[in-house]
Symmetry: C2
């Protein structure tokens, strides 16, 4: 029970009375090794509770079996769902997943990419919306590009404007448009939107899709009908509260994410509004829990895990080609009880 550093291959080799090379080969099974020696080595390794030093292996040329996943917030069901998909595929391929959470700090995102690069992770998957921020995108690109040049694979879930990498893009625009049409069909003509930070491509796309579909039906969405807030439950709560305190004129509220819709739902309930009687509410993403709300939330269902799976698949397959691939994943409107024809 020595407290010494770590048991090394050399220790194992010595215990088994073989050369270092033989010990390595016996453990890895890359080359034929006499069965007697192999037995001895295996026994010694077991005995000493030997675990190879992954860093040394890496340095010596073994290929990396680690992929990094960077998301904004692991405790947000959207990211958790996508991350789950990524992990499933990674797991099937014997890859270890290193999941990092930036808590929406762009600087931290860059830092994590840098760290992953330092670790020579074989792939990096970025989950989450790009910011429409040139400076930030540039800093990120400054890490991503050398990483790719060095042989790293990169895939992104969501739309990034200036990153030339493979990506899986939820059809935010189409989904929001479909949703708008469904709501119009219910008879709504007066809408309000609870939006996340406008600098996110996801928000921009969903907003654009929604607004365009309304415009096609000659319904206009004024800027004053859009309340911007944080991309969180509390953000949704605040936005909805503000809308209500202003005097709610809309018959239907669209929250750009389900998480925000959840906050909005509670805000409405606390204000004494009944759903969908007094106002209809719709979200986007179809995170699992919205089915369990009262009333269950109308939303645009995105196959979250699938998004992650596809991204991981892109990252696994060789992506050093000239053009970057884009996988578009459609969302499907799911009408539940939080929406109904407007009263009267």
């Amino acid at each position: 029970m020595d407290r010494g550093p770590h048991v090394t291959l050399a220790d194992v080799a010595r215990a088994a009375d073989v050369s270092l090379a033989t010990a390595s080969r016996a453990l890895n099974g890359t080359t034929k090794v006499g069965s007697d020696l192999r037995e001895r080595v295996l026994a010694a390794a077991e005995e000493l509770a030997y675990t190879p030093n992954a860093h040394a292996q890496m340095l010596a040329g073994a290929s990396k079996r680690t992929v990094g996943v960077i998301c904004h917030d692991v405790s947000d069901p959207y990211f958790a769902g996508v991350a789950r998909g990524v992990m499933r595929v990674a797991d099937e391929n014997g890859l270890l997943v290193m999941l990092a959470s930036t808590f929406r700090d762009p600087q931290k995102e860059v830092a994590y990419v840098s760290a992953l690069r330092a670790q020579r992770a074989s792939a990096i998957v970025l989950i989450g919306s790009g910011f429409e921020d040139k400076a930030w995108e540039r800093a990120l690109a400054a890490e991503i590009e050398p990483y790719r040049r060095g042989g790293g694979q990169v895939a992104v879930v969501s739309r990034h404007r200036n990153l030339r990498v493979d990506s899986v893009q939820p059809a935010n625009r189409q989904g929001a448009a479909d949703l708008a049409r469904a709501l119009l069909e219910l008879g709504h003509r007066k809408f309000a939107v609870l939006a996340g930070p406008r600098s996110l491509t996801t928000v921009g796309d969903r907003l654009a899709g929604f607004r365009d579909a309304l415009a096609d039906a000659d319904v206009t969405l004024a800027e004053s009908d859009i309340v911007t807030s944080a991309f969180t439950r509390d953000g949704g709560y605040q936005a909805m509260s503000e809308l209500i305190s202003r005097g709610l004129t809309a018959t239907c509220v669209f929250a750009t994410t389900d998480v925000m819709a959840i906050g909005a739902l509670t805000a409405a309930r606390e204000a004494g509004l009944s759903l969908p009687g007094d106002v209809s509410l719709a979200g986007f993403d179809d995170i699992p829990v919205v089915r369990d709300l009262t009333p269950p939330l109308t939303t645009v269902a995105l196959p979250l895990e699938q998004l992650g799976e596809r991204a991981m698949e892109l990252a696994i397959s060789d992506n050093r080609r000239s053009r970057s691939r884009v996988l578009r994943v459609a969302g499907e409107v799911v009408l539940r009880d939080s929406t109904a024809p407007p009263r009267g």
Copy 2:
């Protein structure tokens, strides 16, 4: 733009026309380096987009700045909350967090510990209940012990029976007992429990606390009043459905986790039961979303993030002492609208 492997320190040194040693020193700032040379090195590094190879650094003796966190399922809000706490503290200490999800596969848990050990992570935090399974605990211990001998720090959130490591333990027993007393006080005398897998210490503890408190009030909880199911939303849904199909006699149902309670809530609603009129429902954990359910869920509030923070703090401080430390964190009953006095 060579597609060669990676830019190395040697490349930088060559470009700056200094020795490798000087380049290293200039970059790390460990020793004084002439400002002119330092400038040259920094410029060259920038120019070449150099990122040190973390593996080489590690191998050469740098101390690891990575901690591993292993949980059952990142998409479960309970784990997400705790993980968030861990990450916050890790982040404050400049540590990188590698979060892994075992999807409740004990074998995978062992595999991840092994992998983290191979990477010489400076600490490992295990989130989640121990299994009352000797064989499994032994396999885990066989990884953990050599890891600790090698200088690794380990902390656990939850109670593990045969693991002699520092731990943060939610007061499951006390919390459940407090909850039971609160429910008794409301007037309930007939209970049912939706339990997770009985082999988990968490389930065992919560069940024991609940049952004991009932017994103190001369209320018995028969084995038939306990429905066992998976520790998930669907598990809760199924368990509640079964309870209902059997003919619900209890006036109050206790789900051993909020996640199960969510499923139970929907099952009840779909069966036409109104809460808390027809039946009261209580959960455990106080994950964020239960506040937004209708009705908001009565539960035992555990400071999830704090659990993670304490665990990380334990893991950061030197824990190679003779006795392992145990931090007990109390839960607090939060009465919301899902519980009410029994009808009549």
